[in-house]
Amino acid sequence: MTSQFHYVTADLTGYNVLVTGASGVLGSGVAHALRDAGARVTVLQRSASGLDGVREIQGSVTDPEAARRAVQGVDTVIHIAAKVSVSGPLEEYEHVNVEGTRTLLAAAQKAGVSRWIHISSPSVAHSGASIIGAAAEPADPNTARGNYAATKAAGELLALAADSANFRVLVLRPHLMWGPGDTQLTERIIDRARANRLPLLDGGTALVDTLFLVNAVEAIVTAIDAVDTTHGEALVLTNGQPRPIGEMIRRIAVAGGAKEPTLDLPSGLAKTAGSVIESFWDAEARGDEPPITRFLAEQMSTAHWFDQRRTQEVLQWKPRISLEEGFRLTQQYYRN
């Protein structure tokens, strides 16, 4: 897969960076951007990345030998690999998100890596209540909802605990990434809307932050510089343009070539009868991942938007592509 985008970054010639999870849309974007910026890039993921011009190691972060090989000669690790889903047994999440992180951390420290950019999720500090202009709260595996969030919280705490002057850790928590090529959110919305069966919870008035993928990639690359000055903290990463979830979904759907969705679903129903929702989505036969659970229903019916002042100050970065421009780019992509 080749990148659709040109990324605007600083010159990173001389940097030696490992990107984990480079088979996903975010990881491959970051690897591309780094390579184009002049860095030497190593990627580590289970399947072939399909990336040109990078050193590729196929394997799992949970495998100490793969981890050891991956960090050889590397000065910076960008740890994106994770088990991202909304269902499945806890052990599988722990294996990747906690133990995998622990394994890679140990290898990196042993190999003399000096920077660790840790990609996490705002859900690590989310207990289900509305988030209204809040800063990044501490991760808490005990209150985070769902296996993914709980294990990502534990992984984030491991990384932060490893922070020191010689091993500088910065945690980034991108929130609701979307954009061309994103199968997690963007294409699900588009597919559902094309089938005319996309529900908006409670009129979709809850205000949420999102992040256009290109901005996510550029912010993560910027962090390589920022971590030398500021480290040992977590930052939520968004476009800084909260929108009602209903409007976001409508616009993504329309950008993907669908008609405006109109189906309204009360969130109470979604929360108390999660199974109904799951089977409702299951009817689409998307395999083993019911896309809406109780957790997601909450995510979509309560406000989730963040104070971005600290993030932008630490990274010395502002999102380059506005939501409006992002919709235009998405439309362009799916028209072809």
Binding site: G203, L207, W305, Q312
Partner: protein, 930 residues
């Protein structure tokens, strides 16, 4: 028989959580040498806490000696103690000042027999009749206080000391502060200033005692309600506005659990000198007399809803103390220190006393600003000067004379009427400085009565009918007038609501009505009784000094209860000069006024006042024919009307005949104020009145004229992209400075002018010769809105926000309380709202902020013309249009069927209500109704 008991610290018997808000470190026991030997007191003292914070005895800037009343104890002062410690660490914003955070030590003893101090032995229960000399008297308590101070304060350190008291403790603290004999023999402290909450230092025997005390004082009941049972204690603690929490009540009751501990409560009540023969009567008289003589600065903080310390006592203190300021809390009660956070005004006032010498002095040559008041001429100058003139002073189209012609008054007639009424008012007992509530509809009667009141030195209290009955009642009670002049509706209100003041009617009423309404006379009666008499000042009734109060104006605002805006004679004289010189309302011109504030000013300017046939309080009732008929009858040369009135004039213009149309061509000046005038309306009005200059001044009750824009300028700026409404350049003598807003929307303490102020969103701060003297009885509001730092002038923070453009024109973008603070910097709602309202599908739009200050999401709430659009998220197409109309990043566009606005102007949007609604909706809540 009550046995003695030693003092103890509260925490010897209580767990810390039983005294919420109290730091055990504040408690200490102090032995003092009192009139009957050594006694031990429990004292709140923040000295040790300050020492722990690193502030030594020499770092302390001031000491507050706080005295509780009955039946509270020093627990009453815990908020002040905590706030003073926070302030010392710079954690409290005490308002504008150049100085550092003051280090203030608070010392608050529990009185003997009270709180956790020593209990004296008593042979029996206290009583007003029996000889119960074992209980402390007022005189002894004042001397006890000095004895404690002597133990705790080193007189040689010369640290300024302020007294503070509440209830009976108010009398004791004021008594101590003014009793030089006691202090020089003991502590040798000379206090710098005095502060008191609700209290009373004088009670006239002819007045009834407030009912709650009358009950407690009744002979056999006294001990029963105060000592034997905790009834008095419970009654007092039930006075919280809002109610005290259970844990705070329990804390107050902690030292008074048994009857042996409650002796002092009864003793205190028994010591109230309700009669002339009471043993403490002489001591009370001394306090009252000394207060009348002192030049010490005093601050009163007063809860208006106190059943015991009623307004009568507040008024007595204001009259009695020369150098006194007051902040009156209309909705707080007896336990003001619990009801409201009074620490900021209290500590702020103390700092102001400490800073007193550091103020700049005004430049005597100032050509602009508050000091540029020009030549003073009394408001009745033209009435005197033209007392022989047969030209028209007033034409009132709302009244017809016997021949069905409009009612006309010559200057000679008006002058003699005002003189006769003024003589009558003086004969009826009105004294200079008396406040007079004017409950008269605008028109000839109000004009005559008003100038008569001003002539005798009375202070006119004017309440806008837009306040409603409750608002007017609250305003008048706060102003506490000695007189009310009214017509039947106003007088009925005065009677029903028991408003203070002797009542005078306008017209003479029949004996039954006189008796029912409780009237002391009538203005028409004075006019006829004293017809032909010229009013002349006397030694007892001198003419008012220019610095004396002339008027207090209560107007309906968009937020909160109305504030009384105080004007002196000098300031009103300056206002007439502005109208004459800046807006050319010259003597001899004829002013047709359909706008209440200016309808009254004609006689002071020397202009003929023409009142059209309309309801002046309902501007939209002015028709084109009524306007033209008034112009004909009054030979009008200028028109003053609100935009709402002019809009109706345009709507009814088709009813005009040829003669009426011709008359409007003689108008040379049009003034419109009160709200922004849309340019299309200006153009339409100018089609009817083609030879007029159209001016739209900007101002507020606090300064009626600040800037002015004419229609030529309006057209010239039509293409500008500035945010907000342009109100033109400041008037010649007006100085406008800007207090730039920070990222949290707070306006700076530093004012900027000139180039620095261009294109910078700021709070607008003004200094004008005709500005308010201050808000009445609102010390803290005055402190927060006044800026005295620049050139020694008086400056007023208007609460309006906006910017200057590069040509020196002022643009208004909203009010400070409506500022929205996204991470990109504060914005005013006015600009984006105007942009959105230009869309043809939108009737009204409001911009509000959602989320924490400094990182707010900006939300547009719109009211579309199409009412079939569901409330909630706007449809995509409409959302696109709204987003495209403004340059701010809108997080959401929400639809409502009715953007809430005020009744009076139909234009002031209730943004706080909309912000709350938007917050709920955007958190995922129900859309519901507003």
């Amino acid at each position: 028989m009550i046995s003695p008991k030693p003092a103890q610290t509260p925490h010897a018997v209580l767990d810390p959580q039983q005294l919420p808000g109290w730091d055990p470190q504040w408690s200490r026991l102090v032995e003092a040498n009192t009139c009957d030997g050594a006694r031990e007191f429990h004292v709140l003292d923040t000295g040790p806490a300050l020492t722990d914070l690193g502030f030594g005895a020499n770092d302390v800037d001031a000491i507050v000696i706080a005295v509780h009343g009955n039946p509270t104890w020093s627990y009453l002062w815990r908020h002040i103690a905590q706030a003073s410690i926070d302030a010392a660490q710079g954690k409290v914003d005490l308002g504008p000042s150049a100085g550092k955070a003051p280090i203030i030590r608070v010392i608050a003893p529990d009185q003997l027999d009270m709180g956790f101090s020593e209990r004296l032995g008593h042979p029996g229960f206290p009583s007003t009749t029996a000889n119960t000399t074992s209980y402390r008297t007022l005189e002894q308590r004042i001397s006890d206080l000095d004895a404690i101070i002597k133990e705790l304060v080193d007189a040689s350190s010369n640290i300024p000391v302020f007294s503070l008291g509440h209830d009976w403790g108010g009398i004791i603290s004021l008594g101590w502060a003014t009793n030089a004999a006691v202090r020089s023999a003991g502590s040798q402290i000379e206090p710098t200033g005095m502060i008191s909450l609700n209290t009373a230092v004088w009670h006239d025997e002819s007045d009834p005692i407030p009912a709650p005390l009358r009950a407690a004082l009744a002979g056999p009941v006294l001990a029963g309600s105060t000592v034997v049972t905790p009834a008095f204690l419970d009654t007092t603690l039930a006075l919280g506005q809002p109610a005290l929490s259970g844990s705070v009540k329990a804390a107050y009751k902690a030292p008074y659990a048994s009857r042996a501990e409650r002796g002092g409560i009864g003793g205190f009540v028994a010591d109230i000198p309700a009669t002339d023969s009471h043993r403490s009567r002489a001591a009370l008289r001394t306090v009252a007399d000394q207060l009348a003589l002192t030049d010490k600065a005093a601050l009163l903080l007063w809860g208006a809803k106190d059943p015991v310390f009623i307004d009568r006592y507040q008024h007595d203190l204001l009259q009695r103390i020369d150098n006194v300021e007051i902040h009156r809390y209309n909705t707080a009660g007896h336990l003001l220190a619990e009801d409201r956070d009074i620490s900021i005004p209290l500590l702020g006032w103390i700092r102001q006393q400490l800073d007193r010498d550091t103020r700049p002095t005004p430049d005597p040559a100032a050509g602009r600003g508050s000091e540029a008041v020009g030549e003073y001429s009394p408001l009745w100058s033209y009435l005197d000067q033209w007392s022989g003139s047969t030209t028209k002073a007033m034409v009132d189209m709302t009244i017809k004379d016997a021949n069905s012609r409009p009612f006309e008054v010559t200057w000679a007639k008006l002058s003699s009427m005002v003189d006769a009424m003024a003589v009558g008012l003086r004969e009826a007992g009105m004294r200079p400085g008396d406040r007079v509530s004017m409950l008269v509809e605008p028109g000839r009667d109000l004009t005559a009565a008003l100038y008569a009141v001003l002539r005798v030195g009375g202070v006119a209290v004017v309440t806008d009918a837009g306040l409603g009955v409750d608002g007017m009642t609250r305003a008048i009670k706060s102003a506490a007038p000695q007189w009310i002049i009214g017509q039947t509706p106003g007088l009925s209100l005065a009677r029903i609501k028991n408003l203070p003041g002797k009542r005078l009617s306008v017209k003479t009423m029949d004996p039954l009505a006189r008796s029912i309404l409780g009237l002391s006379g009538s203005m028409y009666g004075f006019a006829s009784t004293y017809a032909g008499q010229k009013y002349r000042p006397t030694a007892q009734h001198p003419d008012p000094d220019p610095a004396d109060d002339a008027a207090i104006l209560f107007t309906s605002g968009s937020t909160g209860p109305a504030k009384g805006v105080r004007y002196t004679h000098r300031k009103l004289s300056a206002l007439t000069q502005r109208l004459q010189h800046t807006l050319n309302v010259a003597p001899g011109s004829s002013l047709l006024a359909g706008f209440a504030p200016f309808a009254l000013l004609g006689p002071a300017i020397g202009a003929t006042s023409v009142t059209p046939n309309m309801s002046v309080t309902k501007p939209a009732t002015l028709t084109a024919t009524a306007l033209a008929d008034a112009a004909i009858a009054g030979d009008a040369t200028m028109i003053f009307a609100s935009p709402a009135a002019l809009s109706n004039v345009v709507d009814t213009a088709h009813e005009l005949n040829a003669q009426q149309r011709e008359a409007l061509k003689h108008i040379s000046m049009l003034l419109s104020a009160g709200a922004p005038v849309p340019v299309p309306l200006m153009d339409e009005v100018l089609e009817l009145i083609p030879n007029a200059e159209f001016h739209s001044p900007y101002g507020m009750t606090e300064s009626l004229l600040v800037s002015d824009i004419d229609h030529h300028t309006q057209h010239a700026i039509a293409d500008r992209t500035d945010r907000g409404v342009c109100v033109g350049k400041p008037l010649d003598v007006v100085r406008v400075a800007m207090a730039p807003l920070d990222f949290l929307g707070r306006s700076s303490d530093q004012l900027v002018e000139g180039d620095e102020a261009i294109n910078q969103l700021s709070e607008i701060v003004i200094s004008t010769p005709h500005m308010l003297a201050g808000y009445d009885k609102l010390y803290n509001t005055n402190r927060q809105t006044r800026v005295d730092s620049v050139d020694g002038l008086q400056w007023h923070r208007t609460g309006d926000i906006g910017h200057f453009d590069e040509d020196g024109r002022l643009w208004i973008e909203g009010r400070t309380q409506h500022i929205v603070t996204p991470a990109t910097g504060a914005i005013g709602p006015g600009g984006p709202e105007d942009d959105i309202q230009r869309l043809s599908e939108i009737n009204r739009a409001a911009i509000v902020g959602v989320g924490p200050a400094g990182t707010q999401a900006i939300v547009a709430v719109i009211e579309p013309h199409d009412q079939s659009i569901k409330p909630g998220l706007a449809p995509t197409a409409l959302t696109d249009d709204v987003r495209a109309a403004t340059d701010v990043d809108l997080a959401a566009v929400l639809v409502t069927h009715k953007v809430p606005v005020d009744i009076r102007h139909n234009s002031k949007i209730n943004r706080p209500l909309l912000a709350q609604w938007a917050t709920d909706v955007l958190a995922g809540g129900k859309v519901g109704t507003l």
